[in-house]
């Protein structure tokens, strides 16, 4: 009898604990939830995510206006487009396998999914930052004045990369400044406090800060054109098994591009929509577009991807990332992760995890989608 009660008590505790544990560890649940598009169901469903940024607002417009659905229907698949408020969280979700595709910059694509072993393909090269990211000094007008200052920025982001490139351009290094990690949500409030003398950030925060008294933009991404690239990244395995996903996304994207480009009523309406959705208006959105080099035509993007410059850019980015420990535990040097571009492979060709593949954009350019 005693033993019986004791055994039951143990059993009860164990069961209770199991429940408690399963509550506390969402990770196993995540792994179960990993989409396995390998199993070919009749109407395949894919999920892509995006976050608010001038170059990614078209995804919102395309999803709301049914353009994405139209192209998905054409290829007999379903595509769910989700907005995620937190940019980094969206990439983490993609890396964890919750999404088949996600918008991100070239640097984050290298350091988060690729460094995490998720073979990723830059399906669409949408634009590059041409002034959208900038270094701002308070009450100083020369970049060289940054020496010795505290610089508030989102550490390990493209802002950090931009700062490193800016310092390089005047013969300084990160040792000459103190980097203070500051959340992007608090950047504008931070700038208005006395202790902050310098920030690096991106639009729309950048334009708000430069409008404040004493602010001078001393360096921006227009000084390093084509190095901060905005992409739609999809899982390479999913893409190779389901080319329809690539075709539908690229087809939809360039239809949105041709809709929003120009001065027609439809284009103005589209940009007004995108401006509103990103918390500004048509004028504000157009101002952000002015410092973004959008590839409205697929041929432009294809040309950009095929150029030798992309390979050297990825090398610079990989070297920065390695120096800041972003390439992961196993990385012995900057070339640990292979990056495939049409101009050749940078890094370890046996460990290619990031691919710039213009195939689908070429299809769009030749009108074969």
């Amino acid at each position: 009898m005693h033993n019986n009660i004791f055994a039951r008590a143990i059993l009860g505790t164990t069961i209770a604990l199991l429940f408690a544990c399963s509550d506390k560890s969402p990770a196993p649940a995540t792994s179960e939830a990993t989409p396995t598009p390998v199993a070919s169901a009749p109407a395949e469903k894919f999920k892509v995510c995006w976050s608010i940024y001038v170059g990614w607002m078209p995804w919102d417009f395309g999803a709301q206006q049914g353009i994405v659905k139209k192209w998905a229907d054409k290829y007999g698949i379903e595509i769910e487009v989700t907005q995620i408020n937190d940019y980094i969280e969206s990439i983490n979700q993609y890396t964890a396998g919750e999404y088949d595709g996600c918008t991100m910059t070239n640097m984050d694509a290298l350091t988060i999914p690729a460094a995490g072993g998720v073979d990723s393909t830059a399906l669409i090269v949408g634009d590059f930052s041409n002034g959208n990211d900038g270094v701002v000094l308070k009450d100083k007008t020369e970049l060289a004045d940054i020496k010795g200052q505290n610089v508030n920025l989102v550490e390990l982001s493209v802002s950090h990369y931009l700062l490193a490139r800016a310092l390089e351009s005047v013969g300084m290094s990160e040792k000459d400044v103190t980097v203070v990690n500051t959340s992007d949500a608090d950047m504008v409030a931070a700038y208005s406090t006395d202790s902050v003398s310098s920030v690096v950030t991106w639009n729309p925060l950048l334009s708000e800060i430069t409008a404040m008294p004493g602010a001078t933009k001393v360096f921006d991404s227009a000084n390093i054109p084509g190095e901060i690239i905005d992409l739609m990244v999809v899982n390479t395995k999913t893409l190779s098994e389901h080319p329809a996903l690539g075709k539908a996304l690229v087809g939809a994207w360039y239809e949105i591009m041709s809709t929003m480009n120009g001065d027609s009523d439809a284009a103005v309406a589209a940009r007004t929509f995108m401006g509103g959705a990103s918390g500004t208006d048509l004028a504000g959105y157009d101002a952000q577009l002015a410092s973004t080099k959008m590839f409205y035509k697929p041929a432009e993007a294809v040309e950009f991807v095929k150029s030798d410059k992309l390979k050297t850019t990825m090398q610079t980015v990989a070297e920065f990332s390695f120096a800041h420990g972003l390439l992961g535990e196993g990385a012995s040097d900057a070339s640990f992760i292979g990056v495939e571009t049409p101009a050749g492979v940078y890094g370890d060709s046996n460990n290619i995890k990031l691919r710039f593949d213009p195939t689908y954009m070429e299809m769009a350019a030749t009108g074969s989608l």
Binding site: H2, I5, F6, A9, I10, T13, T14, L17, L18, A20, C21, S22, K24, S25, A27, P28, T30, S31, I88, N92, T95, A96, T111, I112, A115, G116, G117, V118, N152, V154, E155, L156, S157, E174, T178, V179, V180, N181, T182, S183, D186, A189, A190, S192, T193, D194, S195, V196, A323, H324, G325, L326, G328, E329, G330, K353
Partner: protein
Amino acid sequence: MKLINRKPSRPVRVILGILPFLLLLVLYLGASNARLAENPNDKLLPALSTIGAAIERMAFQPDKRSGDVLLWRDTFSSLGRLAVGVSISAACALILGVLMGAIPFARAKLSPLVTAVSLVPPMAILPVLFIVFGLGEVSKIVLIVIGITPFMTRDLLQRVREIPPEQLIKAQTLGANTWQIIVRVILPQILPRLIAAVRLSLGAAWLFLIAAEAIASTDGLGYRIFLVRRYLAMDVILPYVIWITFLAFVVDYLLRRVSLFCYPWFHSQAKEND
């Protein structure tokens, strides 16, 4: 014998206590192995060896950029902020609590204010704190102080008022003035309760510390977690979380020992069983 009367022997208690931790570990290893089998570079649930390597790198090797050993630097910064913030809070709470508990006029004057302030969610006024106190150390400490002082004060006020009035009357018949009553009767009884209040508010203090470090910082345990989150470095985040838990446990344990050593009467009275 009824289940409620059966007490586990010491070895059984130890085994039952360890069991949930083992179960967690087994669950983690299972899930981790499953993910790593699919993708050996997976960052979400790193293998124990990867976590070990990260600990080795963070705790024993100087950082490439700054030359500091990061874990220790983060620990000292965070513990320093925590100590200053909690000490200021405890001092304020003690003074205000005793004053308001002992002197009805002070209570009438301050009680509504303290109650109102204790209801303000500190995270909601964070942007205001930044503008007023800047982004440096001061605002991080102020956040802790604003976060935990009001409810510690309210707790101590309550404890002072729970002192039996007979004691106060007796002290007065023996000729004590207000100051003597506060110092000789109230204060000695309140100090162990202050330690108890500090122990209870430490959890909240950690929360505010880490929140402040996540927003603008150059070092600290919370800073590091939010920084490496940018590239999903779970191999660093998990040991940091365990380390924070351990530190919190040690601080709590030390406070309990201090309280037991200095105020044994309080513990025999309160029959505290933890």
